[in-house]
Amino acid sequence: MIRLYDDLIIQVVCRIMIPLIQFFALYVIAHGHYSPGGGFQGGCILAASFILMVIAYDLDWMKKRFSEIKNTFMVALGIFIYALIGLICILLGAEYLNYGILHKILPADPIKVRALGTLGIEIGVGITVMAVMVSIFLNLTTYGRHEKGEV
């Protein structure tokens, strides 16, 4: 990546902005079923906060907080949550991803359980989208080497 030297104003403002962006991303994920948004959009906003870290600071600064091992693990974790909720529905005797049947194991009525199942799916989608976006960004900006290049 081309970076001539660090800039204090951008770094300080990004330090204020990044928690707000991540908070807003969680809001978008959690309110996906009755307002605009959802897992994919929230995951993209969450990934944008990590990309902002790389742009404002450094690749190593971001790797110290969100390492590549965790990133690759999270790609699989989101898919796993998605598939697990679907498979539990099959095991309880309904179709794949038919969340209404989950009221047999969760203490709520079927309508609330349906909203909860959607929330679980969207959390899984959000985690996977965030991790894949960050991984695509790292691969594109460092030509696949995943380390800091010369200026």
Binding site: V13, C14, M17, L20
Partner: protein
Amino acid sequence: MILLEYFLNFVIIVLLFLGIFFFFTATLGLLRFPDFYCKLQATGKGDTLGAILILLGVVVYILKEDFSFATFLVTLKILFIIFFIFHANPTATHAITKAGLDSGIIPLTKEDLKK
């Protein structure tokens, strides 16, 4: 009471028109100013103030329609957006200006205009 409503309508209209005015001047500056840095200065300042004024007009409108806890939450979200724009927009302008300076764009001076 009806006087208060007239007054609030007046405030909303003034805020919205001021916001539109600042957006207009920012766009005019973007199109007509001669230099990279001049254009950035026009858009960076005008867009920030215009967006903040329009959002403040929206806040007053929502609170005028219905003053309750639900509208208070909506107001709080809009104030968060104002806070975000107030910080993010000048910083982005600063980043673009610095990138331009680093990559060797020379600012316009009085001597260039005389030529």
